[in-house]
Protein backbone atom coordinates (compact mmCIF):
# COMPACT_ATOMS: atom_id res chain seq x y z
CA UNK A 1 0.00 0.00 0.00
CA UNK A 2 1.42 3.38 -0.95
CA UNK A 3 0.43 6.91 -0.02
CA UNK A 4 -1.32 9.08 -2.62
CA UNK A 5 1.40 11.04 -4.40
CA UNK A 6 1.48 14.68 -3.34
CA UNK A 7 -0.11 16.59 -0.54
CA UNK A 8 -3.84 16.98 -0.38
CA UNK A 9 -6.30 19.05 1.64
CA UNK A 10 -8.34 17.35 4.35
CA UNK A 11 -11.02 19.00 6.44
CA UNK A 12 -10.96 19.15 10.20
CA UNK A 13 -14.14 17.49 11.48
CA UNK A 14 -13.47 17.82 15.19
CA UNK A 15 -11.00 19.28 17.65
CA UNK A 16 -11.13 19.16 21.42
CA UNK A 17 -9.01 19.36 24.52
CA UNK A 18 -8.08 16.24 26.42
CA UNK A 19 -5.96 16.31 29.58
CA UNK A 20 -3.49 18.99 28.48
CA UNK A 21 -3.35 17.76 24.88
CA UNK A 22 -5.65 18.20 21.88
CA UNK A 23 -7.34 15.54 19.82
CA UNK A 24 -8.40 16.46 16.32
CA UNK A 25 -9.89 14.56 13.41
CA UNK A 26 -9.42 14.96 9.68
CA UNK A 27 -11.56 13.52 6.91
CA UNK A 28 -9.29 12.06 4.26
CA UNK A 29 -11.25 11.48 1.09
CA UNK A 30 -8.33 10.20 -0.95
CA UNK A 31 -5.95 8.22 1.20
CA UNK A 32 -6.01 4.60 2.34
CA UNK A 33 -6.66 3.57 5.91
CA UNK A 34 -3.33 3.97 7.72
CA UNK A 35 -1.61 1.15 9.59
CA UNK A 36 -0.68 1.41 13.26
CA UNK A 37 2.62 3.25 13.66
CA UNK A 38 2.30 5.26 10.45
CA UNK A 39 2.37 9.02 10.49
CA UNK A 40 1.37 12.02 8.38
CA UNK A 41 3.10 15.30 7.60
CA UNK A 42 0.61 18.05 8.43
CA UNK A 43 0.42 21.81 7.96
CA UNK A 44 -2.61 24.02 8.31
CA UNK A 45 -3.69 25.33 4.92
CA UNK A 46 -4.05 28.89 6.17
CA UNK A 47 -1.80 30.97 8.37
CA UNK A 48 1.03 28.47 8.13
CA UNK A 49 3.14 29.81 5.32
CA UNK A 50 2.11 33.46 5.40
CA UNK A 51 3.94 35.76 7.78
CA UNK A 52 7.49 36.26 8.78
CA UNK A 53 8.46 33.49 11.13
CA UNK A 54 8.07 29.77 11.86
CA UNK A 55 6.40 27.29 11.27
CA UNK A 56 7.64 26.73 7.77
CA UNK A 57 7.93 22.97 7.40
CA UNK A 58 5.05 20.53 7.94
CA UNK A 59 5.00 18.57 11.20
CA UNK A 60 4.98 14.79 11.69
CA UNK A 61 2.08 13.32 13.67
CA UNK A 62 1.29 9.67 14.32
CA UNK A 63 -2.21 8.58 13.61
CA UNK A 64 -3.90 7.67 16.89
CA UNK A 65 -7.16 6.26 15.59
CA UNK A 66 -8.89 5.84 12.27
CA UNK A 67 -12.22 4.64 10.99
CA UNK A 68 -14.57 4.97 8.07
CA UNK A 69 -16.18 8.36 7.53
CA UNK A 70 -19.08 9.27 5.27
CA UNK A 71 -16.74 10.39 2.56
CA UNK A 72 -13.47 8.59 3.18
CA UNK A 73 -11.36 7.82 6.20
CA UNK A 74 -11.35 9.60 9.55
CA UNK A 75 -7.91 10.24 10.99
CA UNK A 76 -7.50 11.12 14.67
CA UNK A 77 -4.38 12.78 15.99
CA UNK A 78 -3.36 13.40 19.58
CA UNK A 79 -1.16 16.44 19.87
CA UNK A 80 0.85 18.37 22.42
CA UNK A 81 1.56 22.03 21.72
CA UNK A 82 5.28 22.45 22.32
CA UNK A 83 6.26 24.96 19.64
CA UNK A 84 5.01 26.98 16.71
CA UNK A 85 3.99 24.03 14.54
CA UNK A 86 2.15 21.99 17.12
CA UNK A 87 0.65 25.16 18.60
CA UNK A 88 -0.87 26.04 15.24
CA UNK A 89 -2.24 22.51 14.82
CA UNK A 90 -3.71 22.68 18.34
CA UNK A 91 -5.68 25.73 17.18
CA UNK A 92 -7.39 23.93 14.29
CA UNK A 93 -11.10 24.52 14.12
CA UNK A 94 -13.70 22.25 12.51
CA UNK A 95 -14.11 23.24 8.86
CA UNK A 96 -10.48 24.35 8.45
CA UNK A 97 -8.31 22.55 5.95
CA UNK A 98 -5.00 20.87 6.56
CA UNK A 99 -2.32 19.97 3.99
CA UNK A 100 -1.75 16.25 4.39
CA UNK A 101 1.02 14.01 3.12
CA UNK A 102 0.72 10.32 4.02
CA UNK A 103 0.27 7.78 5.41
CA UNK A 104 4.04 7.59 5.71
CA UNK A 105 6.57 5.26 7.26
CA UNK A 106 6.36 1.62 8.25
CA UNK A 107 4.03 0.08 10.80
CA UNK A 108 4.17 -2.21 13.79
CA UNK A 109 4.54 -5.95 13.24
CA UNK A 110 2.33 -8.51 14.93
CA UNK A 111 3.98 -10.48 17.74
CA UNK A 112 4.28 -13.45 15.38
CA UNK A 113 5.96 -11.39 12.65
CA UNK A 114 8.20 -9.75 15.19
CA UNK A 115 9.27 -13.09 16.65
CA UNK A 116 10.10 -14.26 13.16
CA UNK A 117 12.26 -11.21 12.45
CA UNK A 118 13.80 -10.83 15.88
CA UNK A 119 14.57 -14.41 16.61
CA UNK A 120 18.09 -15.30 15.66
CA UNK A 121 18.97 -18.92 16.42
CA UNK A 122 19.71 -19.40 20.10
CA UNK A 123 17.57 -16.50 21.40
CA UNK A 124 14.96 -17.96 23.67
CA UNK A 125 11.87 -16.37 22.21
CA UNK A 126 12.13 -17.54 18.66
CA UNK A 127 10.72 -21.05 19.12
CA UNK A 128 7.68 -20.37 21.27
CA UNK A 129 4.24 -19.33 20.20
CA UNK A 130 3.93 -15.61 21.10
CA UNK A 131 1.89 -15.18 24.21
CA UNK A 132 0.66 -11.71 23.27
CA UNK A 133 1.55 -8.05 23.15
CA UNK A 134 2.57 -5.61 25.83
CA UNK A 135 2.05 -1.98 24.85
CA UNK A 136 4.09 0.59 26.78
CA UNK A 137 3.22 4.23 26.21
CA UNK A 138 4.43 7.42 27.79
CA UNK A 139 2.83 10.85 27.52
CA UNK A 140 1.98 11.90 24.00
CA UNK A 141 3.55 8.60 22.90
CA UNK A 142 0.35 6.79 23.68
CA UNK A 143 -1.04 8.00 20.34
CA UNK A 144 0.13 5.26 17.96
CA UNK A 145 -0.52 2.58 20.57
CA UNK A 146 -4.25 3.28 20.56
CA UNK A 147 -4.59 2.23 16.94
CA UNK A 148 -2.23 -0.69 17.52
CA UNK A 149 -4.30 -1.97 20.43
CA UNK A 150 -7.46 -1.91 18.37
CA UNK A 151 -5.78 -3.67 15.46
CA UNK A 152 -4.47 -6.40 17.80
CA UNK A 153 -7.91 -6.75 19.33
CA UNK A 154 -9.36 -7.27 15.85
CA UNK A 155 -6.76 -9.99 15.30
CA UNK A 156 -7.47 -11.59 18.69
CA UNK A 157 -3.97 -10.96 19.89
CA UNK A 158 -3.98 -10.78 23.69
CA UNK A 159 -2.77 -7.33 24.60
CA UNK A 160 -1.83 -5.66 27.85
CA UNK A 161 -1.48 -1.90 27.99
CA UNK A 162 0.82 0.07 30.31
CA UNK A 163 0.62 3.85 30.13
CA UNK A 164 2.60 6.44 32.00
CA UNK A 165 1.99 10.12 32.53
CA UNK A 166 3.84 12.91 34.21
CA UNK A 167 0.80 14.36 35.93
CA UNK A 168 -2.90 14.96 35.42
CA UNK A 169 -2.17 17.84 33.04
CA UNK A 170 -0.29 15.44 30.76
CA UNK A 171 -2.74 12.57 30.63
CA UNK A 172 -4.45 13.54 27.40
CA UNK A 173 -6.19 11.04 25.16
CA UNK A 174 -6.59 8.47 27.90
CA UNK A 175 -10.35 8.37 28.02
CA UNK A 176 -10.87 9.00 24.32
CA UNK A 177 -8.38 6.50 22.96
CA UNK A 178 -8.28 3.77 25.57
CA UNK A 179 -11.82 3.88 26.90
CA UNK A 180 -12.87 0.28 26.27
CA UNK A 181 -9.80 -1.58 27.31
CA UNK A 182 -7.96 -2.70 30.37
CA UNK A 183 -4.92 -0.60 31.09
CA UNK A 184 -2.46 -0.15 33.91
CA UNK A 185 -1.42 3.37 34.65
CA UNK A 186 1.64 4.93 36.16
CA UNK A 187 2.18 8.58 36.95
CA UNK A 188 5.25 10.44 38.05
CA UNK A 189 3.24 12.38 40.59
CA UNK A 190 1.07 9.49 41.71
CA UNK A 191 -2.21 11.10 40.68
CA UNK A 192 -3.30 7.89 38.99
CA UNK A 193 -2.14 4.28 39.15
CA UNK A 194 1.38 3.36 40.12
CA UNK A 195 3.37 6.23 41.61
CA UNK A 196 6.48 6.09 39.43
CA UNK A 197 7.55 5.20 35.94
CA UNK A 198 5.64 3.04 33.53
CA UNK A 199 8.85 1.07 33.08
CA UNK A 200 8.43 -0.14 36.67
CA UNK A 201 5.21 -1.80 35.53
CA UNK A 202 6.99 -3.29 32.54
CA UNK A 203 9.82 -4.59 34.72
CA UNK A 204 7.33 -6.43 36.91
CA UNK A 205 5.59 -7.85 33.89
CA UNK A 206 8.84 -9.01 32.30
CA UNK A 207 9.48 -11.09 35.41
CA UNK A 208 6.32 -13.07 34.67
CA UNK A 209 6.46 -16.62 33.31
CA UNK A 210 5.15 -15.88 29.87
CA UNK A 211 7.22 -12.73 29.36
CA UNK A 212 9.83 -14.20 27.09
CA UNK A 213 7.21 -15.21 24.57
CA UNK A 214 5.54 -11.79 24.61
CA UNK A 215 6.29 -8.86 22.30
CA UNK A 216 6.70 -5.35 23.59
CA UNK A 217 5.62 -2.25 21.62
CA UNK A 218 6.52 1.13 22.92
CA UNK A 219 6.28 4.80 22.13
CA UNK A 220 7.19 7.73 24.34
CA UNK A 221 10.04 10.00 25.37
CA UNK A 222 13.54 8.95 24.23
CA UNK A 223 14.75 8.05 27.72
CA UNK A 224 11.75 5.80 28.20
CA UNK A 225 12.35 4.07 24.87
CA UNK A 226 15.99 3.59 25.76
CA UNK A 227 14.96 1.96 29.05
CA UNK A 228 12.31 -0.21 27.38
CA UNK A 229 14.79 -1.29 24.70
CA UNK A 230 17.42 -2.18 27.29
CA UNK A 231 14.95 -4.08 29.49
CA UNK A 232 13.68 -6.11 26.54
CA UNK A 233 17.20 -6.88 25.35
CA UNK A 234 18.13 -7.97 28.86
CA UNK A 235 15.05 -10.17 29.13
CA UNK A 236 15.39 -11.42 25.56
CA UNK A 237 11.96 -10.14 24.67
CA UNK A 238 11.06 -9.07 21.13
CA UNK A 239 10.38 -5.38 20.92
CA UNK A 240 9.43 -2.57 18.55
CA UNK A 241 9.73 1.13 19.27
CA UNK A 242 8.00 4.00 17.47
CA UNK A 243 10.56 6.78 17.48
CA UNK A 244 10.85 10.45 16.64
CA UNK A 245 13.52 12.54 14.97
CA UNK A 246 13.50 15.95 13.28
CA UNK A 247 11.67 15.57 9.99
CA UNK A 248 11.46 18.09 7.17
CA UNK A 249 9.81 15.89 4.54
CA UNK A 250 8.67 12.53 5.87
CA UNK A 251 9.26 10.68 2.59
CA UNK A 252 13.00 10.19 2.34
CA UNK A 253 13.88 13.41 0.54
CA UNK A 254 15.82 15.47 3.07
CA UNK A 255 17.99 13.01 5.06
CA UNK A 256 17.25 15.11 8.14
CA UNK A 257 15.68 12.33 10.21
CA UNK A 258 18.78 10.17 10.40
CA UNK A 259 19.32 7.90 13.41
CA UNK A 260 22.65 6.25 14.09
CA UNK A 261 22.81 2.50 13.44
CA UNK A 262 24.78 0.29 15.83
CA UNK A 263 27.37 -0.66 13.20
CA UNK A 264 27.92 2.93 12.04
CA UNK A 265 25.99 4.87 9.46
CA UNK A 266 22.45 6.10 9.74
CA UNK A 267 18.95 5.08 8.84
CA UNK A 268 16.25 7.51 7.74
CA UNK A 269 13.56 7.26 10.37
CA UNK A 270 10.82 8.44 8.01
CA UNK A 271 11.23 5.61 5.50
CA UNK A 272 13.12 2.98 7.52
CA UNK A 273 10.94 3.71 10.56
CA UNK A 274 9.37 5.26 12.54
CA UNK A 275 8.98 1.75 13.97
CA UNK A 276 12.36 0.16 14.69
CA UNK A 277 13.69 -2.71 16.76
CA UNK A 278 16.09 -1.68 19.53
CA UNK A 279 18.95 -3.48 17.76
CA UNK A 280 18.49 -1.35 14.63
CA UNK A 281 19.43 1.95 16.25
CA UNK A 282 21.88 3.39 18.75
CA UNK A 283 19.30 4.21 21.38
CA UNK A 284 21.72 6.12 23.57
CA UNK A 285 22.21 8.68 20.81
CA UNK A 286 18.57 9.06 19.90
Amino acid sequence: MTAPFGRRLCQVSESRATGGYRLFSLIDTDGPEPLPGQFYMLASERHWEQGGQRPFLPRALSVAETGPAADGVRLDFLIEGIGPGTDRLCELQPGESVCVNGPLGNSFSTPRELHQISGPPGRKFDAVQPSGAILVGGGIGIAPLALLRRSFAAKNIPTRVLLGFRDAAHSGGLDELFSCCEIRLASDDGHAGHHGYVTDLLAAMLEGDDAASAAVYSCGPPQMLEAVGAMCAEAGVACELAMESPMACGYGACFGCSMPKPGGGYLRLCVDGPVVRPDQVELAHA
Binding site: P55, L57, P246, C249, Y251, G252, A253, C254
Partner: protein
Protein backbone atom coordinates in the same frame (compact mmCIF):
# COMPACT_ATOMS: atom_id res chain seq x y z
CA UNK B 1 9.49 22.42 -24.72
CA UNK B 2 12.66 23.98 -23.35
CA UNK B 3 15.85 22.74 -24.97
CA UNK B 4 18.56 22.72 -22.37
CA UNK B 5 22.10 22.04 -23.60
CA UNK B 6 20.60 19.87 -26.32
CA UNK B 7 18.38 17.97 -23.89
CA UNK B 8 14.70 18.31 -24.61
CA UNK B 9 12.62 18.93 -21.51
CA UNK B 10 8.85 18.89 -21.03
CA UNK B 11 8.83 21.99 -18.85
CA UNK B 12 11.36 24.30 -17.18
CA UNK B 13 11.23 22.83 -13.65
CA UNK B 14 13.82 20.39 -12.34
CA UNK B 15 14.75 19.50 -8.77
CA UNK B 16 17.60 20.94 -6.76
CA UNK B 17 20.24 18.34 -5.95
CA UNK B 18 19.77 16.65 -2.61
CA UNK B 19 16.17 17.65 -2.11
CA UNK B 20 14.34 14.73 -3.70
CA UNK B 21 15.27 11.06 -3.49
CA UNK B 22 13.36 9.50 -6.39
CA UNK B 23 14.20 5.99 -5.23
CA UNK B 24 12.82 6.52 -1.74
CA UNK B 25 9.85 8.47 -3.10
CA UNK B 26 8.98 5.58 -5.40
CA UNK B 27 8.90 3.26 -2.40
CA UNK B 28 6.56 5.68 -0.62
CA UNK B 29 4.27 6.71 -3.48
CA UNK B 30 4.59 3.77 -5.87
CA UNK B 31 4.12 4.03 -9.61
CA UNK B 32 2.04 7.20 -9.25
CA UNK B 33 5.37 8.96 -8.85
CA UNK B 34 6.48 7.93 -12.32
CA UNK B 35 3.10 8.60 -13.93
CA UNK B 36 3.13 12.11 -12.56
CA UNK B 37 6.85 12.76 -12.20
CA UNK B 38 7.25 16.29 -10.82
CA UNK B 39 10.43 17.33 -12.65
CA UNK B 40 11.37 17.59 -16.31
CA UNK B 41 14.82 16.25 -15.48
CA UNK B 42 16.04 14.56 -12.34
CA UNK B 43 19.16 15.75 -10.53
CA UNK B 44 20.71 13.18 -8.22
CA UNK B 45 21.95 13.90 -4.74
CA UNK B 46 25.63 14.78 -4.94
CA UNK B 47 27.84 11.71 -5.13
CA UNK B 48 31.48 11.52 -4.08
CA UNK B 49 34.23 9.11 -5.07
CA UNK B 50 33.95 7.08 -1.87
CA UNK B 51 30.85 6.28 0.20
CA UNK B 52 29.89 8.72 2.96
CA UNK B 53 27.49 8.16 5.83
CA UNK B 54 26.77 11.84 6.29
CA UNK B 55 26.95 14.08 9.33
CA UNK B 56 25.97 13.38 12.86
CA UNK B 57 22.43 14.53 13.72
CA UNK B 58 20.94 17.10 14.43
CA UNK B 59 21.11 17.83 10.71
CA UNK B 60 18.21 20.20 10.09
CA UNK B 61 16.86 23.29 11.78
CA UNK B 62 13.82 25.35 10.84
CA UNK B 63 14.35 29.10 10.49
CA UNK B 64 12.12 32.02 9.45
CA UNK B 65 10.87 31.14 5.96
CA UNK B 66 13.55 28.52 5.54
CA UNK B 67 15.74 25.87 7.06
CA UNK B 68 19.38 25.08 7.74
CA UNK B 69 20.75 21.70 6.72
CA UNK B 70 24.01 19.98 7.36
CA UNK B 71 23.38 16.56 5.85
CA UNK B 72 27.00 15.89 4.90
CA UNK B 73 26.46 14.31 1.47
CA UNK B 74 25.59 10.76 2.50
CA UNK B 75 25.95 8.60 -0.64
CA UNK B 76 27.12 5.20 -1.77
CA UNK B 77 30.21 6.49 -3.54
CA UNK B 78 30.77 6.23 -7.27
CA UNK B 79 30.78 2.45 -7.48
CA UNK B 80 27.76 2.01 -5.24
CA UNK B 81 25.90 4.70 -7.15
CA UNK B 82 26.60 3.11 -10.52
CA UNK B 83 25.76 -0.38 -9.32
CA UNK B 84 22.75 0.26 -7.11
CA UNK B 85 21.18 3.66 -7.76
CA UNK B 86 21.75 4.31 -11.44
CA UNK B 87 19.69 1.34 -12.68
CA UNK B 88 16.76 2.55 -10.58
CA UNK B 89 17.14 6.18 -11.66
CA UNK B 90 17.24 5.00 -15.27
CA UNK B 91 13.61 3.94 -14.77
CA UNK B 92 12.52 7.55 -14.31
CA UNK B 93 10.58 9.03 -17.22
CA UNK B 94 12.92 12.04 -17.50
CA UNK B 95 16.58 12.75 -18.33
CA UNK B 96 19.05 12.22 -15.51
CA UNK B 97 21.61 14.77 -14.31
CA UNK B 98 24.17 13.41 -11.88
CA UNK B 99 25.64 15.77 -9.30
CA UNK B 100 29.25 15.04 -8.35
CA UNK B 101 31.77 16.48 -5.92
CA UNK B 102 35.37 15.68 -5.09
CA UNK B 103 38.32 17.36 -3.41
CA UNK B 104 40.84 17.30 -6.27
CA UNK B 105 41.09 17.16 -10.03
CA UNK B 106 41.92 13.44 -10.15
CA UNK B 107 39.02 12.46 -8.02
CA UNK B 108 36.67 14.78 -9.92
CA UNK B 109 37.99 13.25 -13.14
CA UNK B 110 37.20 9.75 -11.91
CA UNK B 111 33.62 10.81 -11.18
CA UNK B 112 33.13 12.59 -14.49
CA UNK B 113 34.53 9.69 -16.48
CA UNK B 114 32.68 7.04 -14.51
CA UNK B 115 29.35 8.83 -14.73
CA UNK B 116 29.88 10.35 -18.16
CA UNK B 117 30.34 7.05 -19.93
CA UNK B 118 26.92 5.82 -18.86
CA UNK B 119 24.14 6.18 -21.40
CA UNK B 120 21.57 6.61 -18.64
CA UNK B 121 23.16 9.95 -17.77
CA UNK B 122 22.17 13.06 -19.75
CA UNK B 123 24.38 15.61 -18.02
CA UNK B 124 26.71 16.10 -15.06
CA UNK B 125 26.47 18.82 -12.42
CA UNK B 126 29.73 19.76 -10.71
CA UNK B 127 29.18 20.74 -7.11
CA UNK B 128 32.14 23.03 -6.51
CA UNK B 129 31.28 24.10 -2.95
CA UNK B 130 34.13 21.91 -1.78
CA UNK B 131 37.73 22.47 -0.76
CA UNK B 132 40.50 21.50 -3.13
CA UNK B 133 42.70 19.26 -0.96
CA UNK B 134 45.79 20.50 -2.75
CA UNK B 135 45.23 24.27 -2.59
CA UNK B 136 43.05 24.20 0.52
CA UNK B 137 40.77 26.70 -1.18
CA UNK B 138 37.07 26.21 -1.82
CA UNK B 139 37.00 25.73 -5.59
CA UNK B 140 33.76 27.60 -6.14
CA UNK B 141 35.01 30.63 -4.20
CA UNK B 142 37.90 31.15 -6.63
CA UNK B 143 37.44 32.01 -10.29
CA UNK B 144 40.89 30.62 -11.15
CA UNK B 145 40.30 27.32 -9.33
CA UNK B 146 36.95 26.95 -11.02
CA UNK B 147 38.32 27.61 -14.46
CA UNK B 148 41.20 25.19 -13.92
CA UNK B 149 38.81 22.48 -12.76
CA UNK B 150 36.61 22.91 -15.81
CA UNK B 151 39.59 22.84 -18.13
CA UNK B 152 40.69 19.58 -16.56
CA UNK B 153 37.27 17.96 -16.75
CA UNK B 154 35.93 19.33 -20.03
CA UNK B 155 37.91 16.93 -22.28
CA UNK B 156 36.76 13.88 -20.30
CA UNK B 157 33.16 13.74 -21.43
CA UNK B 158 30.95 14.93 -24.24
CA UNK B 159 28.03 15.24 -21.83
CA UNK B 160 26.95 18.74 -20.82
CA UNK B 161 28.68 19.97 -17.68
CA UNK B 162 26.72 22.18 -15.31
CA UNK B 163 28.56 24.08 -12.61
CA UNK B 164 26.69 24.60 -9.37
CA UNK B 165 27.92 27.80 -7.74
CA UNK B 166 28.21 28.58 -4.07
CA UNK B 167 26.51 31.85 -3.07
CA UNK B 168 28.98 32.52 -0.26
CA UNK B 169 31.21 34.78 -2.32
CA UNK B 170 31.46 38.50 -2.92
CA UNK B 171 31.18 38.13 -6.68
CA UNK B 172 29.45 35.02 -8.07
CA UNK B 173 29.45 36.46 -11.58
CA UNK B 174 33.25 36.27 -11.70
CA UNK B 175 33.16 32.60 -10.80
CA UNK B 176 30.42 31.95 -13.38
CA UNK B 177 32.40 33.69 -16.08
CA UNK B 178 35.44 31.59 -15.19
CA UNK B 179 33.36 28.42 -15.40
CA UNK B 180 32.06 29.43 -18.82
CA UNK B 181 35.60 30.23 -19.89
CA UNK B 182 36.70 26.79 -18.72
CA UNK B 183 34.06 25.15 -20.87
CA UNK B 184 30.98 24.77 -18.71
CA UNK B 185 27.69 24.27 -20.59
CA UNK B 186 25.45 25.76 -17.93
CA UNK B 187 25.53 27.39 -14.51
CA UNK B 188 23.24 26.42 -11.68
CA UNK B 189 22.80 28.56 -8.62
CA UNK B 190 22.39 29.12 -5.77
CA UNK B 191 23.61 26.48 -3.37
CA UNK B 192 22.85 27.14 0.31
CA UNK B 193 24.02 30.16 2.30
CA UNK B 194 26.35 29.47 5.19
CA UNK B 195 24.18 29.72 8.28
CA UNK B 196 23.78 28.79 11.91
CA UNK B 197 21.14 28.94 14.61
CA UNK B 198 21.35 28.54 18.35
CA UNK B 199 18.99 26.20 20.19
CA UNK B 200 17.45 28.34 22.92
CA UNK B 201 17.20 25.27 25.12
CA UNK B 202 20.97 24.69 25.23
CA UNK B 203 22.69 27.86 24.03
CA UNK B 204 24.54 25.63 21.54
CA UNK B 205 24.11 25.48 17.77
CA UNK B 206 20.93 23.65 16.76
CA UNK B 207 22.93 21.85 14.07
CA UNK B 208 25.43 19.34 15.44
CA UNK B 209 28.08 20.44 12.95
CA UNK B 210 27.81 24.02 14.28
CA UNK B 211 26.63 25.44 11.02
CA UNK B 212 25.03 24.37 7.78
CA UNK B 213 23.37 25.81 4.69
CA UNK B 214 20.30 28.02 4.56
CA UNK B 215 17.61 27.36 1.94
CA UNK B 216 13.96 28.16 1.35
CA UNK B 217 12.05 31.38 0.60
CA UNK B 218 14.28 33.35 2.99
CA UNK B 219 17.18 33.11 0.51
CA UNK B 220 15.18 33.84 -2.64
CA UNK B 221 16.12 37.56 -2.82
CA UNK B 222 19.80 36.62 -2.60
CA UNK B 223 19.37 33.98 -5.30
CA UNK B 224 17.52 36.33 -7.65
CA UNK B 225 20.27 38.94 -7.28
CA UNK B 226 22.97 36.37 -8.01
CA UNK B 227 21.11 34.99 -11.04
CA UNK B 228 20.75 38.54 -12.40
CA UNK B 229 24.43 39.20 -11.86
CA UNK B 230 25.48 35.94 -13.51
CA UNK B 231 23.05 36.40 -16.42
CA UNK B 232 24.68 39.73 -17.14
CA UNK B 233 28.07 38.11 -17.81
CA UNK B 234 27.54 34.59 -19.22
CA UNK B 235 25.93 33.37 -22.43
CA UNK B 236 25.42 29.75 -21.34
CA UNK B 237 22.04 28.83 -19.83
CA UNK B 238 21.32 29.25 -16.15
CA UNK B 239 19.40 26.97 -13.80
CA UNK B 240 17.99 29.30 -11.17
CA UNK B 241 17.08 28.12 -7.69
CA UNK B 242 16.79 29.23 -4.11
CA UNK B 243 13.45 29.46 -2.32
CA UNK B 244 11.11 28.69 -5.18
CA UNK B 245 7.73 27.69 -3.75
CA UNK B 246 5.31 29.02 -6.34
CA UNK B 247 5.13 29.89 -10.00
CA UNK B 248 5.48 33.60 -9.20
CA UNK B 249 8.77 32.83 -7.47
CA UNK B 250 9.97 30.84 -10.48
CA UNK B 251 9.00 33.74 -12.75
CA UNK B 252 11.32 35.99 -10.76
CA UNK B 253 14.21 33.74 -11.77
CA UNK B 254 13.07 33.52 -15.38
CA UNK B 255 12.81 37.30 -15.61
CA UNK B 256 16.22 37.53 -13.96
CA UNK B 257 17.72 35.40 -16.73
CA UNK B 258 17.30 31.73 -15.83
CA UNK B 259 16.39 29.21 -18.55
CA UNK B 260 15.36 26.52 -16.08
CA UNK B 261 14.42 26.66 -12.45
CA UNK B 262 14.96 24.10 -9.74
CA UNK B 263 12.72 23.43 -6.77
CA UNK B 264 14.49 22.38 -3.59
CA UNK B 265 13.22 22.90 -0.06
CA UNK B 266 9.63 23.29 -1.27
CA UNK B 267 9.69 19.57 -2.16
CA UNK B 268 9.78 18.83 1.56
CA UNK B 269 6.53 20.69 2.04
CA UNK B 270 4.87 19.43 -1.13
CA UNK B 271 6.18 16.35 -2.93
CA UNK B 272 4.41 17.45 -6.10
CA UNK B 273 5.83 20.98 -5.95
CA UNK B 274 7.69 20.48 -9.26
CA UNK B 275 4.54 19.77 -11.24
CA UNK B 276 2.63 22.46 -9.48
CA UNK B 277 5.23 25.14 -10.10
CA UNK B 278 5.50 24.05 -13.76
CA UNK B 279 1.76 24.53 -14.13
CA UNK B 280 1.88 27.89 -12.37
CA UNK B 281 4.70 29.04 -14.66
CA UNK B 282 2.69 28.03 -17.73
CA UNK B 283 -0.24 30.02 -16.39
CA UNK B 284 1.93 33.06 -15.70
CA UNK B 285 3.48 32.91 -19.16
CA UNK B 286 0.02 32.72 -20.76
CA UNK B 287 -1.09 35.73 -18.73
CA UNK B 288 2.09 37.60 -19.65
CA UNK B 289 1.66 36.84 -23.33
CA UNK B 290 -1.82 38.25 -23.28
CA UNK B 291 -0.52 41.40 -21.62
CA UNK B 292 2.78 43.24 -21.64
CA UNK B 293 5.78 41.54 -23.22
CA UNK B 294 8.25 39.97 -20.81
CA UNK B 295 11.83 38.81 -20.99
CA UNK B 296 12.91 35.88 -23.11
CA UNK B 297 12.14 32.63 -21.37
CA UNK B 298 13.59 30.14 -23.84
Amino acid sequence: MPDFCGIELKHPVINASGTFDAIAARRVYGEALLADFPFSAFVSKTITPEPRVGNEPQRIWETPAGMINSIGLPNKGLDGFLAEDLPQLADLPVPLIVSVMATGHDEFARLVKGVGERDEVAAIELNVSCPNVHSGLIVGEQPAETEALLEALRPLTSKPLLVKLTPNVANPAEVAAAAEQGGADAISLINTLKASAIDPATGEPGIAAGHGGLSGPAVRPVAVAQVRAVAAVVRIPIVGMGGISHGTDAMEFIHAGASLVAVGTENFRDPRAGNRVAGEIAGALRADRSGAPIGDTA
